[in-house]
């Protein structure tokens, strides 16, 4: 009889020693995959148009982004949806070539033809602004463009 009584013991605690390891593994995964946003937006986050025929942008290092939209600080830059942001500043279309050339100097010569310019413009921006940028891009032979759009039905 005493044999059975002996077994009356509490459940042993689950060993959680490996829990930190698991969590650290997840942590490192997210640390590695995280890319911190490099530029602060001086314009309000553009409301991208939606389209169905979108292609994914590959090779992130070869993409330079031009933002077009409404300034966050209208007293300084004026109102309207046609403010162009290059790097960290509100700029004009005339500064686009310098921006592209600067971006080119950071990649190797062989990769220059694969560089893509992504234009992130607000829905309410005007085509005129986009055309100005496009003409400047053509001047410096940056011919690959991607009009940033979110994938959707397109209507």
């Amino acid at each position: 009889m005493s044999k059975f009584r002996k077994k009356k013991k509490g459940m042993p605690a689950v060993n959680t020693a490996a829990l930190p390891d698991i969590v650290f593994m997840l942590l490192f995964f997210f640390m590695v995959t995280t890319t911190m946003r490099e530029t602060d937006l001086r314009i309000e986050t553009p409301r991208l148009p939606s389209a169905s025929e979108v292609k994914k942008l590959e090779h992130k290092s070869l993409v330079c982004t031009i933002y077009v939209g409404k300034s966050k600080d209208p007293s300084k830059h004026g109102i309207g949806f046609n403010k162009i942001q290059l790097n960290d500043k509100i700029a004009s279309a005339d500064q686009v070539p310098a921006f592209i050339i600067n971006a080119r100097s950071k990649v190797s010569e062989a990769e220059v033809p694969f560089m893509t310019t992504s234009i992130k413009a607000d829905k309410e921006s005007n085509v005129g602004t986009i055309t100005d940028i496009r003409l400047k891009l053509r001047d410096v032979n940056a011919l690959k463009i991607s009009y940033s759009a979110s994938k959707g039905a397109g209507n």
Partner: protein
């Protein structure tokens, strides 16, 4: 005196610390992939460049005015009808195609399913879509129009691909992307692309 054993450091809160960091990175991570309507600009023409003369019937003119209204081939149209009209224009196949680079004469379009009307485009490789917008046009509308035009090409390419290779063009491109060295797939993709080349030109906007 009896030597006491070193007490172990309590690592119970290690998991908490790691969790805290983990949650921070979870929150700041954005995994969005950038996507967009890709376009290739034409090179800057030299100063003495004379544009080639193109027959009126091979141009599909799309005008967008500053109130975001569409004028297609001289008629008002809604964006939702644009794709159908573009398909009809591209796929018309009313005449001979572009002569080959080695001097071979142009062939009639034997895969087109259009009406073969005299007054519309000759051949998909001659059909040019010209988009003229106003400086004041909204960008959203402009992208919508571009998207519809690209969709017209997708519809046609898918149809032809299904007929020739029994697989839709989207799927074919997908398989090719995973398997870039496959010459056979490459040839198929090129074949479809040359059958329906995307010729969309952006005219200088009116102000």
């Amino acid at each position: 005196m009896a030597r006491r054993e070193n007490p172990e450091i309590n690592a119970g809160s290690m998991a908490d610390i790691a969790f805290l960091l983990l949650i921070f990175f979870l929150v700041t991570t954005t995994m969005n992939v950038d996507s967009g309507v890709s376009k290739k600009l034409s090179e800057k023409p030299p100063a003495d460049y004379v544009p080639p003369i193109i027959k009126e019937k091979n141009i599909f003119e799309v005008n967008i005015n500053r109130n975001n209204e569409l004028l297609v081939e001289g008629e008002r149209m809604d964006v939702k009808d644009l794709r159908e009209a573009a398909v009809k224009f591209i796929d018309n196949g009313g005449g001979l195609g572009k002569p080959g680079e080695d001097g071979t004469p142009g062939l009639p379009c034997d895969y087109c399913g259009g009406e073969r009307s005299e007054s519309s485009s000759d051949h998909p490789n001659k059909a040019i879509i010209s988009v003229q917008s106003d400086r004041g046009t909204e960008y959203g509308t402009y992208i919508k129009v571009q998207n519809e035009l690209l969709r017209a090409y997708t519809v046609l390419r898918n149809r032809l691909c299904k007929k020739r290779y029994d697989i839709s063009f989207d799927e074919l491109e997908e398989t090719y992307k995973d398997n870039k060295s496959n010459e056979d797939l490459k040839k198929k993709v090129e074949d479809i692309k040359t059958a329906y080349p995307q010729i969309i030109s952006d005219a200088e906007p009116t102000s």
